[in-house]
């Protein structure tokens, strides 16, 4: 009976074990069949040995001691002829088959314990119906309990389609906004036509009828647009349900694996007389179920090694000046297209002398060559086949079934494993696994006018901040938030983006947690949480440590996803290195606001061609928001716009302490005299009559900029 586990914990662990054991049994039987067909099949012998070894360890961990002993016995039988480097004798083969038969009975017994009695055999399919090609036991049981098995590839296809749906939906929403703009443009044109008809009176002729037809068409268009808006909302909800459902099918939280592993660590520590505290991070990281199930064994092996061989006995630790309780940590995080799982310990580290001796023993090296090898190369050799630094055949980690098998399993999953070790301080294994599903929760925010994201799983808090919330300390800047002084990363500086002017501007902080390090990240403006489809940055840019990937907004813009581990490094160092300033070096920055798309695009093109940098927005409100985020040299705005018109926008700008000197040019299609009067009375520097002419725009903008420079010195 495993100690320190509650009956509920044990039951849950055993149900995981049974699932796992059935897979191992299948593999064992395949290897056995291969060995029967070709008794000299060395690969089959290794596979058999490895699977039996794992089964033995897992069974022992969940307190199924008889099963563990049987697996040990079977392992001994295989080891007998493996160590003899010869094919099995007939008697040995029979004994092995009997031992495996015994294991199968015991696994069956454990399964009954966990699931209740096994179901009766399925009746033969009715005549005419063709039975499935492979109708194995586990599938039969699954069907009867109301579950179905689905090919992983099929789920992947659906996930991909759901991801595209998210993008498509956002695109439709964006087009609806454009369509609304068109409706407003048309309504305005119709109003102008109507007033012309009124003025002309009898001279209008057929124009009156044209105006009526236009009215009808406009009303129709408005109804259609509203209906489409409702449809789009509905589509958004459906897409979300679909996406979340599929995500649940395909993904599991890594915490489920960690629970199983934590139980095992306790058990191993008990058996080896070690005192170990296990710390885990990143339990919410989602991992593909199929990969999660297969990565359990390698992780279990790494943890066993950490406890059995890494952590020293309490007395040795105290003698070395370390705390008597060893520390093992297990963490998971997501980066780009990978899940990174790390297993670390603060034990003795890889014994480099023994490793060098083992390299010599394995005839890879002469003693002199081994001595000359860099330590990192010696540590990396830990994954080599047959290189074991421990000879004892204890039942925790022996028999040469070592890290080569761990590496092989991880590479088969498309992943990679590396090891780093410092003598006396500990060992850390880093496992990288491919992320097969690509929708994550992200928190979006703006820096320097561009949108960035971080994985929502790392976010612990967000808050508005002011200048008074910063504190300088000898070890770097701190952010005072809810009574705590947090290490700080100024994202604007890190990204080389100019900060908006003035300390009175609204700013925000995102508080992140990376493996226990809580730190703040400043940004210009929070946008909010979104489900985002993760894309890779491609081979040219994937080596940039700052980014974990990218996502694509509804408007088709690429938004970068920041890597939390790299941000944490910056926070730890307490310095934010300035990056290369980005964006094109260019002319003055113009903010252009107009609710007519055609005006926006025409005016933007004219200004761009003249060397200005231009940002466009569809109304005064968005212009006002953008002015909080970014520094502009001039505002060119339409007079009449929804939400906040150009005259009120100008008034806001004139009343704002940091913006009041910003040059503003107002465009309007009102009659020249009323437009001019209104524009100038609310504080605009210049006035432009529509329709716009190229030269008039350029002259007015240049004059306003020149005047602005003079007045601000």
């Amino acid at each position: 009976m495993a100690i320190d586990l509650t009956p509920e914990e044990l039951h849950r662990l055993r149900s995981f074990f049974v699932e796992e054991a059935e897979e191992h049994l299948e593999a064992i039987e395949r290897a056995l069949a291969a060995l029967e067909a070709m008794p000299s099949d060395g690969a089959a012998v290794s596979a058999l040995l490895r699977k039996l070894h794992t089964l033995k360890g897992s069974a022992g961990t969940v307190g199924l001691d008889e099963l563990s002993r049987s697996a040990h016995l079977a392992e001994d039988r295989v080891a007998a002829f493996r160590d003899g480097v010869r094919p099995p004798l007939q008697g040995e083969m029979q004994a092995l088959i009997a031992a495996i038969e015994q294991i199968r009975r015991l696994v069956g017994g454990a399964a009954r314990l966990v699931h209740g009695p096994p179901p009766m055999r399925t009746p033969p399919p009715p005549a005419g119906a063709s039975p499935p090609e492979e109708w194995r036991g586990s599938e039969r049981r699954a069907v009867e309990s109301g579950q179905i098995r689905v090919e992983v590839e099929q789920v992947d296809e659906m996930m991909e389609a759901a991801g595209e749906l998210v993008i498509d939906r956002a695109r439709i929403a964006r087009r609806l906004i454009d369509l609304d703009g068109c409706v407003r443009d048309l309504a305005r044109a119709r109003a102008a036509l109507r007033s012309s008809v009124m003025e002309l009176g009898p001279d209008a002729g057929g124009l009156g009828e044209v105006e009526l037809e236009l009215s009808d068409a406009l009303a129709h268009l408005e109804r259609a647009t509203t209906g489409m808006g409702d449809d789009s909302e509905h589509l958004a909800r459906t897409a979300q349900v679909l996406e979340e459902g599929l995500q649940r099918v395909r993904m599991m939280e890594v915490g489920r694996l960690f629970e199983r592993l934590a139980g095992a660590v306790k058990e191993i520590a008990r058996r080896t007389g070690k005192e170990v505290a296990l710390a885990t991070w990143g339990e919410q990281t989602a991992i593909d179920k199929a990969i999660g199930e297969r990565v359990i064994d390698p992780l279990l092996h790494l943890l066993r090694n950490a406890v059995a061989h890494g952590i020293e006995p309490p007395a040795a630790r105290v003698a070395a000046g370390k705390p008597g309780v060893g520390r093992v940590d297990l963490s998971a995080r997501w980066r780009g297209s990978e899940i990174i799982i790390e297993v670390g310990d603060d034990g003795a580290g890889v014994d480099l002398d023994r490793m060098r001796a083992a390299l010599v023993r394995a005839h890879h090296q002469t003693a002199a060559e081994a001595a000359a090898l860099p330590d990192a190369v010696v540590v990396a050799a830990i994954f080599e086949h047959g290189l074991s630094t421990r000879d004892s055949a204890d039942d925790l980690a022996g028999r040469g079934v070592g890290l080569d098998a761990v590496k092989e399993t991880i590479e088969r999953l498309g992943g990679a494993i590396t090891c780093a070790s410092t003598p006396g301080q500990g060992t850390r294994f880093t496992v990288r696994l491919p992320l097969t599903t690509a929708i994550i929760g992200g928190l979006l925010f703006k820096v320097g006018g561009h949108v960035y994201a971080v994985p929502a799983s790392s976010v612990v808090d967000t808050a508005p901040i002011a200048a008074a919330d910063f504190q300088s300390t000898p070890t770097g800047e701190r952010l005072l938030l809810r009574g705590r002084a947090l290490p700080l990363v100024r994202l604007g500086a890190l990204l080389g983006e100019p900060s908006p002017p003035g300390s009175a501007m609204r700013r925000a902080a995102v508080v992140l947690d990376h493996e226990g390090l809580i730190f703040g990240l400043t940004c210009d403006k929070l946008i909010g949480p979104r489900q985002i489809v993760v894309k890779g940055l491609g081979p040219l840019l994937s080596s940039l440590p700052l980014y974990a990937g990218a996502t694509i907004s509804g408007a088709g813009k690429v938004q970068l996803i920041l890597d939390v581990a790299t941000l944490a490094d910056h926070a730890r160092r307490g310095v934010t290195l300035g990056a290369r300033p980005t964006g094109s070096v260019g002319g003055p920055r113009v903010l252009l606001a107009d609710d007519s798309r055609s005006v926006r695009e025409t005016a933007a093109l004219i200004l761009l061609q003249a060397g200005y940098r231009v940002e466009t927005v569809p109304d005064g409100w968005e212009a006002w928001e953008l002015l909080q985020d970014r520094r502009f040299d001039l505002v060119l705005t339409d007079g009449e716009m929804p939400r906040l018109d150009g005259y009120d926008l100008t008034g806001h700008i004139r009343r704002h302490p940091d913006l009041r000197d910003l040059p503003v040019v107002v465009m309007t299609s009102r009659t020249v005299e009323t437009g001019r009067t209104r524009a100038l009375s609310c504080g605009a520097d210049a006035f432009l009559a529509k329709p716009l002419r190229r030269q008039a725009i350029l002259d007015a903008v240049a004059a306003a900029l020149a005047a602005g420079r003079r007045s601000s010195g």
Partner: protein, 116 residues
């Protein structure tokens, strides 16, 4: 074999023969801070993220919406959008006076800026 001829810094250049190419026009460019300088940013092409590579001599020129880009598959798995001055009609042009552009070699020398 299909060869694309483009103008780059006022010079006629032949893009790698056989590499799948497509003409695009810049819409929205997302800058990528800390990227090598010739990578001006990234764009999305049919849901994938593609780096925009500008091999023209400095000083960096502003990239306007509408700037012509040639989407090239440099090798399996590596697509870039190359900034060009203009693209020539392929059918009518002779490749004789166009200097070949070895894009793979130009990209191979790219390293993320050091010292960080």
């Amino acid at each position: 074999m299909d060869v694309w001829i483009v103008d780059l810094d006022g010079e006629r250049r032949a893009l790698p023969a056989g590499a799948p190419c497509e003409l695009l026009h810049l819409d929205y460019l997302t800058p990528v801070p800390t990227a090598p300088p010739v990578v001006r940013g990234v764009i999305q092409v049919r849901g994938q993220v593609v780096p925009v590579v500008d091999l023209r001599a400095p000083p960096e020129r502003a990239l306007h919406p509408g700037t012509p880009l040639v989407l090239i598959e440099v090798r399996e798995g590596l697509r870039v959008a190359l900034v060009v001055d203009r693209v020539h009609e392929r059918a009518e042009e002779s490749t004789a006076d166009a200097r070949p552009l070895d894009l793979a070699a130009a990209l191979a020398t790219l390293r993320p800026p050091g010292g960080r």
